[in-house]
């Protein structure tokens, strides 16, 4: 599956959220998070108030990238699963379609076997959603853009760019 030009629309996003919700509820997990391989968050479910998701996504992606490097060093194409067992909480990171990763944070009441079972099911559902996205893109290629489509928000001016950075206050130099 070549997912380099993937466009996720709201319908797919909602379906992804429902897969994450089902997995999170089944495992009573603290968090079910889908990230891309560069560390960007796609969607999450779970009572995550105590977890910094931006940092988690970035570190999980780095961890996976390092693991990929390790796999290549020992002649394996990949290590598709990463599991970190803690005293109270554990993290399970698995590959989805070679482009995304599913990150689960759960407590000691859940067995690893159950996690693997639910991850397998969730991965199959997620991959099906991504295949559906690709079919839509291929189906639409060459077709005129929908007239109802809003103007791209990327159409910003140089002034818009200059307006950024107000959140930073340089210190006064002595």
């Amino acid at each position: 599956m070549n997912l380099n030009n993937l466009i996720l629309r709201e319908t797919e996003y909602v379906r992804i959220k429902s897969v994450l919700m089902m997995t999170q509820k089944d495992l009573r997990a603290d968090l079910a998070l889908l990230i891309d391989r560069n560390g960007q968050q796609i969607a999450f479910e779970g009572p995550t108030y105590a977890i910094d998701l931006t940092s988690l996504a970035s570190l999980a992606a780095a961890n996976l990238a390092a693991t990929d490097g390790l796999a290549q060093l020992v002649g394996e194409p990949e290590f598709s699963i990463l599991y970190h067992q803690g005293k109270h909480r554990s993290i399970h990171i698995s590959d989805v379609a070679h482009k995304f990763s599913l990150v689960l944070v759960f407590d000691e009441s859940v067995s690893l076997g159950m996690v693997r079972l639910r991850v397998k099911r969730a991965t199959a559902y997620l991959e099906e959603i991504f295949r559906g996205c690709l079919r839509k893109i291929e189906g639409n290629s060459g077709a005129p853009r929908e007239s109802t489509q809003a103007k791209s928000p990327i159409d910003f001016s140089d002034d818009d760019i200059e307006m950024l950075f107000w959140v930073m206050k340089p210190k006064i130099q002595k």
Binding site: N38, A65, M163, V167
Partner: protein
């Protein structure tokens, strides 16, 4: 690769600070962290050795506010500068949108600067990027030290494509914000072109 989340109306860009060891990449990020409003920055993560040399990367997410209703976030990374951490350095460049090269202005670090620049070019290529096409800024750091090379000469030796060059003293914050603004502007302009 810029990630645009239309559902959450967010724009996420990745900028990597590259350069030789002890050149001031982490110091750049620390200064940005210090001057950014608390509600606009995430936690700064430093994966460093006991002697505070970067082992894997530093990471700082900042939120620059809205642009045409899109929340604009920059994820800033540094790479480990030491030569033997090349495998880690390569990983950090995955999905990069813009690069800042932090050069050490001291005369004795010229070879290290040149070696790091060659390494950057090579590692970008491995990820399918071309240094000549990617948003890129050169920062000449440590301008307060006594044994530095003249800025013009260093620019002549290190500038690769007419990119913006900034003189900086990162420990005092001089030139840091200007550098970030310049690379962020290039990333956003590039994004607009490709949209």
């Amino acid at each position: 690769m810029t990630f645009i989340n239309y559902v959450a109306r967010e724009l996420n860009c990745k900028v990597v600070y590259y350069g030789p060891g002890l050149g001031g990449k982490t110091t750049n990020l620390q200064y940005i962290y210090d001057i950014t409003n608390a509600e606009n920055k995430g936690k700064m993560i430093s994966l460093a050795t006991e002697t505070e040399r970067t082992l894997f990367f530093d990471f700082l997410p900042i939120d620059l506010g809205q642009i045409r209703g899109l929340r604009t976030r920059f994820h800033l990374y540094t790479v480990p500068g030491q030569v033997f951490y090349d495998a880690s350095r390569k990983l950090i460049l995955r999905g990069v949108d813009g690069v800042v090269f932090v050069a050490d202005s001291q005369e004795e670090r010229l070879d290290a600067n040149l070696e790091s620049l060659t390494n950057l070019r090579h590692n970008l290529k491995e990820h399918g990027f071309d240094l000549l096409k990617i948003p890129y800024v050169l920062q000449l750091n440590k301008r307060d030290l006594p044994n530095i090379m003249p800025a013009e000469e260093l620019t002549r030796l290190l500038q690769v494509k007419g990119e913006p060059v900034f003189e900086a003293i990162a420990v005092r914050g001089e030139g840091v914000l200007e550098t970030l603004k310049a690379v962020a502007r290039q990333v956003l302009v590039e994004l607009r072109k490709s949209a």
